[in-house]
Amino acid sequence: MSQNEQGLEGPPPEERPHPDGRRNSQGIRIDPEVEAEPDSRTAMISALVEHEPGVLARVAGLFSRRQFNIESLTVGPTTVEGNARLTLLVEETEPGIDQIKKQLAKLKPVISVGELEERAVRSELVLLKINGEEPGKVQAITEMYDGETLDAGPRTITVQLTGSNDEIEDAMDAYRQFGIIEVARTGPTALSRGDRPTTPGEKPAAEATAVGVKPDGGTEQSGEAESQAETTN
């Protein structure tokens, strides 16, 4: 259909001025000659949640529908009855990590969300079922990595290791010569160092403070308020 038939007048697209500026895929203004797309990084995120039915499905569904890249997720109770801590290892661009934190904070059962600092205490547990033909050598490696033998039979040895991701990978490399038959890993879980709360404003249960644990004296009352503060920083 020609322009006349449609009836709209005005300079056609090629005759209009157009600014030279550009934005990258994150909507950030860039110098198109210089800046590349942002790299992704891993982030350890801790979320304090109300331990109600479906909370795990809500978190998992959020990650799935928004295509957030999740490496591992652990969940367990906290000192507060009815609360649980989710620890998530994610790999995303910086704006993606920001979105993950903000979208998590929007879920109603999520009380607060924090990102663990680099130096936070992190640990993972792994169970390994190893070919048992050379029990002495297996035992030597287990001792080297401060592991524990949980089961030893004529054909297999099952050991437990805890530690950082690197330590566990190293140990698994060492065991591989015998043949690793099965692996079960929990994925890393983490807490912040010192008396800094792991998620903003997080308080221990009253009975925990009664035996001498001092809660952080921060002023943030809820994770939502904190996540807004993060956003506005």
Binding site: M1, S2, Q3, N4, E5, Q6, G7, L8, E9, G10, P11, P12, P13, R16, P17, H18, P19, D20, G21, R22, R23, N24, S25, Q26, G27, I28, R29, P53, G54, A57, R58, G61, L62, R65, P95, D98, Q99, K102, Q103, A105, K106, L107, K108, I111, S222, G223, E224, S227, Q228, A229, T231, T232
Partner: protein
């Protein structure tokens, strides 16, 4: 009998004036889960509910028997969810949709998803099979909270009659707080039947869900400096402005500081479109001048908008020279699609007042305002009228606009007709444009018109523009409009195509009209009369004005089947992912 009944029987208790006593005096006491649900709705001020009866929700319907809440029985649950959504848009408080378990609940899903995309406040209440049968694949069982988890702000599975009313109250409060959205409570039949005398209170937000109000002062200060030094400032007003009831504040902000305005489609009505500062709406089918302004601005102030892809076009070329001030109540919208240089998280009206307080002077934008006027002259919205040629749809929209008052509510389905209505109707008031924006739900029009009619003032006209394809998707709801004798006017812009698809096929698929041509459409005027509504058929320009006048005068549902130029297309158009500033004025420019 319940304790509260015994209390009210005590003459001394009558002297007490607290709310619970009042409620217990005014209506029968709560006796079971169902009456607690209905009482919670009454406490929330609910006047209307839209729904369809069915097995698992029957106890709740039975409890509505004695309530003042007016229930509108829809033909299909999808209609109930769209009606509730549109009711909420017009009324400014959550609409209520009711359905039974299984198919009833799944039929609501489209409307819930629609409300979620457009941040419309709505509460869905669904029946569920009895608790002890949940998980057994019982008759009409669906995991409704599972299905609706990604499309609600939050949903609940009610497990106790004692708390069920307060849960419904929470669902209501959460739906309308902060960034609004749909909520859902799934109601197992045994819990609805379960005895309780616990009177629910007023709707209360769940703990920790209070929305932000004022923005961080440091960010406001930085944003104010950015606006002051801008040479080409532009306000981008989204639907959030209307939801925040910030229309007046926003208008004053633009006028006081001399800042031109574009809106998003859901933001239609935030600013009068005949105002010199207003450039109408930007985006895929927005005006040329709005898209020029948004391309060339050096300071874009987005208020209550989520920078949807239909607005931005290609992200790389969106407002490429602009510092972005983003005012929004949802922190997650900040820098989600477009990076915000100055994020201001809070209530729209409150933050704009903060900005005004912080600004020492207005931006020097005289030349920019003149430039915007030049673009208005350069790219006028226009269409050819040839009285011997087939009817132009734009002419019909303008004829309706002329024949009705400024406060007329315009609803639409989804497709070409929706764009023509949005382009050629001159809007001036908030809550007068009711459409399916984010989800793009064909079939939204008629049920939304019914919901809007119940929320509108008695003297307000309600006009629906629909397409032939869109109308056909939910036209069974005409039976409801006739039964309720609703004074609504439906203009079907009939081109015997799924027109927007046909337009794209012509532009991008070498004209192959796969599954977009209807070689036979029902005669909608006669179909309307079969339903008991009034019908007209219009083929010529001369018939347009008289048919509109008769239809508007008719006290009941009327349907005008306008047979329009089947080749008419919607322009301007920014192709998907293209730069806004390169909008095409005709197909050969795509």
């Amino acid at each position: 009998m319940s304790d509260s009944a015994q209390t009210t029987a005590d003459p001394e208790a009558d002297t007490k004036t607290d709310a619970d006593q009042q409620a217990a005096t005014d209506s029968a006491p709560v006796t079971d889960g169902s009456s607690s649900i209905v009482r919670a709705l009454e406490n929330a001020g609910v006047e209307h509910a839209f729904g369809v009866q069915g097995g698992a929700i029957m106890p709740v319907y039975d409890a509505l028997w004695d309530s003042d809440i007016e229930h509108v029985t829809m033909a299909h649950e999808q209609g109930a969810s769209h009606a509730a959504d549109a009711y909420g848009v017009v009324a400014g408080s959550p609409g209520i949709a009711l359905a039974t378990s299984g198919p009833g609940a799944t039929n609501l899903v489209t409307g819930i998803a629609d409300a979620n995309m457009d941040s419309d406040a709505m509460v869905a209440l669904t029946g569920q099979v009895p608790s002890d049968m949940v998980g057994s694949d019982a008759f009409q069982e669906t995991d409704t909270t599972g299905v609706t988890m990604p499309i609600t702000k939050h949903n609940w599975f009610a497990n106790s009659a004692d708390t069920i009313g307060d849960t419904v109250g929470q669902a209501f409060a959460l739906a309308e707080s902060g960034r609004p959205g749909p909520t859902l409570v799934d109601l197992p039949k045994d819990v609805s039947f379960e005895e309780t005398d616990v009177e629910p209170g007023e709707p209360e937000l769940p703990a920790g869900q209070d929305p932000p109000t004022t923005a961080d002062p440091e960010n406001v200060e930085a944003a104010a400096r950015a606006i002051e030094r801008a040479e080409k400032p532009l306000l981008l007003l989204g639907g959030g402005v209307i939801k925040a009831e910030a229309t007046e504040t926003t208008r004053a902000f633009a006028r006081d500081h001399g800042i031109p305005v574009v809106t998003t489609m859901p933001g239609i009505g935030t600013f009068p479109e005949d105002d010199e500062l207003c450039l109408s709406w930007a985006g895929m089918h927005g005006t040329g001048y709005a898209n020029m302004a948004i391309t060339h601005t050096d300071c874009l102030i987005g208020v209550g908008t989520r920078f949807d892809d239909r607005l931005t076009g290609g992200i790389d070329t969106f407002a490429p020279e602009a510092e972005v001030v983003h005012v929004d109540i949802d922190p997650a919208e900040i820098s989600k699609n477009i990076h915000a240089d100055y994020p201001c998280i809070g209530d729209a009206g409150t933050v704009l007042d903060q900005l005004t307080d912080e600004m020492d002077h207005d931006p020097d934008a005289r030349e920019w305002r003149e430039q915007c006027q030049t673009w208005k002259d350069e790219y006028p919205m226009d269409y050819p009228v040839d009285k011997n040629a087939p009817l132009r749809p734009e002419f019909i929209v303008e004829a309706f606009d002329e024949a009705t008052a400024d406060d007329t509510i315009v609803t639409s389905g989804v497709g070409q007709h929706q764009m023509w209505a949005a382009q050629y109707w001159e809007f001036s008031e908030p809550r007068t444009w009711v459409s399916s924006h984010g989800l793009g739900t064909m079939g939204y029009g008629l049920p939304a018109t019914i919901g809007a009619r119940f929320a509108a003032d008695a003297d307000q006209d309600v006009v629906c523009f629909d397409g032939d394809g869109s109308f056909l998707m939910t036209l069974q709801e005409l039976s409801v409009a006739v039964r309720e004798n609703l004074d609504i006017t439906i203009a079907v812009l009939n081109n015997e195509y799924v027109g927007m698809v046909r337009q794209w096929q012509d532009a991008f698929f070498e004209g192959r009209h796969m599954a977009s041509e209807y070689n036979w459409m029902p005669e909608f005027d006669k179909l309307a009369e079969a339903f008991g509504a009034q019908g007209w058929r219009v083929d010529n320009y001369d018939e347009v004005a008289p048919a509109i006048e008769e239809a508007l005068d008719y006290d009941g549902p009327s349907v005008i089947d306008f047979h329009i130029d089947p080749e008419a297309n919607v322009y301007p158009m920014v192709a998907s992912g293209a730069p806004n500033g390169k909008f095409a004025l005709a197909e050969d420019q795509l």
